[in-house]
């Protein structure tokens, strides 16, 4: 790669880990690294990135960039692209990354691939790999033209740990205010079902098929194990269980001693929430379900036949 531009992200005043993951990926691909830091009064973070990531750091610093907005971010990224003519632009696949990256690609008439977890150098070409069908398959992609844009799945690469020393340069931006107005960031109501301290969690997914089955099929296993019940997002979206049962990137992050995933396919957004569990048991009728990649123990069975059997055996093992 001749030159890669990475777009940094600041969260709660500090550079996100995902930004240093972009640095690592850009370094792996080789060539020159240019970073872009966007925000208001963020020169400190830009200095930190220059020190840690090395290379040139462009700083787009303005009060209008105090909160994320797609107009301001897209303008800064497009200006950085025209100033530096990178061959590759890397942006983290976060709520702001997935909001702005496609807009930039359309404005530049450039090829883009989202939620990439690996990029490989193949001579002059780059091969991008990402998941498809919620993790059931992987796809390998190519982009023609320049720049090539990719959003990168947070956590897919180890963060860069070097300390190279670089320089910060200001980037001039458009002074026009964004068309959207930021009002506030607030937390969704938490609810009383706290899964963060549970020793055992039994979560049900769309495979349970009907709301009644959570009581009829899942609950006996939950009770037999003395566990807490969790769920995947579609279960909550359909109103079968309240939001506070949801495990995943937009639900709770859990790490019990035992996590039992029942009828859950294992989409990345669910895995993010439970993959640090000490031990994972997956029950799914599809032997290719991605949940089996991260589970310790797998049962390839129809849950409606297997779960009642398991609940009964657990109960008798407890002598109850």
């Amino acid at each position: 790669m001749a030159r890669t531009l990475i777009v940094a992200e600041i969260q709660n005043g500090a550079l996100r880990e995902a930004t240093l993951e972009l640095v690592a990926l850009a370094r792996k691909l080789g060539g020159e690294l240019v970073s872009l830091v966007i925000g208001s009064e963020v020169s400190g973070q830009a200095e930190t990135l220059a020190k840690q990531g090395g290379g040139k750091v462009l700083l787009a610093d303005s009060p209008k960039l105090a909160n994320y907005n797609s107009d301001g971010w897209a303008d800064a990224i497009q200006r950085a692209v025209s100033a530096e003519a990178p061959d590759l632009v890397l942006i983290s696949n976060t709520p702001s990354g997935w909001d702005v990256a496609p807009k930039v690609a359309a404005a530049l008439d450039a090829g883009i691939i989202t939620d990439v977890f690996d990029i490989e150098n193949e001579g002059d070409e780059l091969a991008f790999t990402r998941r498809l069908f919620n993790g059931k398959f992987n796809g390998r992609f190519r982009i023609t033209g320049s720049p090539r844009i990719a959003t990168i799945q947070p956590g897919a690469t180890a963060a860069y740990e070097g300390s190279d020393g670089g320089s910060v340069e200001p980037l001039e931006i458009d002074s026009a205010p964004p068309r959207s107005e930021f009002l506030e960031i607030r937390m969704a109501e938490a609810g009383g079902h706290d899964l963060s301290k549970a020793e055992i969690i039994v979560s049900g997914g769309r495979g349970l098929a009907k709301p009644e089955n959570f009581d009829a099929v899942l609950k006996p296993l939950v009770d037999a194990l003395g566990a807490q019940m969790g769920a995947s997002r579609p279960v909550v979206d359909a109103g079968w269980l309240p939001h506070e049962y949801q495990v995943g990137s937009s639900g709770q992050l859990v790490q019990p001693k035992l996590y039992v995933a029942v009828g859950i396919s294992g989409a990345i957004q669910h895995l993010v929430g439970m993959k640090s569990s000490n031990y994972i048991l997956a029950i799914n009728k599809d032997p290719d379900a991605p949940i089996f990649e991260i589970a310790d123990l797998g049962v390839v069975q129809d849950l409606f036949e297997f779960v009642p059997k398991l609940a009964a055996k657990v109960k008798s093992a407890k002598g109850g």
Binding site: A105, I200, V236
Partner: protein, 258 residues
């Protein structure tokens, strides 16, 4: 008010997916299709705005003939008319090509609001909504979980990570991409399905939109689709259901949890 809702027809969630023989997509000749789940929430939101006042809800989809089924379902749920765009040149295009075709229709329709799903359940790209906004010069916001109309503006809540919500105000016209769970999606009633047969459903080619095949030539190609490498993977317990359950119980005992 005119609301344009973009929908994609995708393989049914319960379809058995197999990789096609040329390994560049899935075998999709004999599987069932449905409206992308994310898009159903966008459609429902449009219908709620319509129910609450005056609005025309126009459905726009790009896809082969089979996508007519998805449009009929949307009309049956209460949308007013539908537009299907197809052309052989669109079969191999990328998200930007799709966005260009959508934008050509949006420019002709001049809606006050465009609603889409956050992503498609097959590709999971999440690309066309912000692209369409850019190509039509509209402000946008993605992953919206709540929306209220306020004197010609829209106040939208977008989902961030870890339970955080960002509240933003956008002027109309604008584009919102909708996250799942925003509302309770209605079913098409029998009466609705009967009425849908009489509602207008237009089909358009690229030429009808003033576009040529070269306008939608892809920059991105999916070279190969494959099953993820197994890696470490789970130890799969084999045997009869009874034997499997016994082994699982033994394992849970070993963990000291029984």
């Amino acid at each position: 008010m005119k609301i344009l809702v973009c929908v994609k027809q995708v393989p049914h969630k319960d379809a058995r997916l197999e990789i096609s023989s040329d390994e560049t997509w899935i075998q999709d000749e004999s599987i069932k299709f449905e409206i992308n789940a994310y898009d159903t929430y966008a459609l429902e939101e449009a219908l709620r705005i319509k129910d609450a006042g005056e609005a025309e809800v126009v459905i726009l989809s790009i896809g082969p003939d089979r996508a007519i089924q998805a449009l009929r379902t949307a009309l049956g749920m209460g949308a007013d008319r539908a537009i299907l765009v197809w052309d052989d040149a669109l079969a191999g295009t990328d998200s930007l090509g799709i966005a260009k075709a959508l934008a050509a229709v949006a420019k002709a329709e001049q809606p006050d609001l465009i609603l889409t799903g956050l992503m498609a359940d097959d590709t999971n790209y999440s690309l066309t909504p912000p692209m369409l906004a850019e190509l039509t010069q509209l402000p946008h916001v993605t992953a919206v979980v709540k929306e209220t109309q306020q004197n010609g503006d829209i106040v939208a809540e977008r989902e961030l990570e870890g339970g955080a919500l960002e509240v933003v105000k956008l002027p109309r016209p604008c584009l919102l991409s909708i996250q799942t769970g925003m509302n309770d999606v209605r079913y098409a009633s029998l009466k609705g399905i009967m009425q849908a047969k009489k509602k207008p459903l237009e089909t358009k080619s690229l030429a009808d939109l003033g576009l040529q095949a070269s306008d939608v030539a892809p920059k991105v190609t999916l070279e190969k689709i494959f099953l993820p490498p197994r890696g470490k993977g789970a130890e799969i317990v084999e045997g009869s259901i009874d034997e499997i359950a016994t082994q699982v119980v033994t394992k849970i005992k070993e963990l000291g949890l029984l």
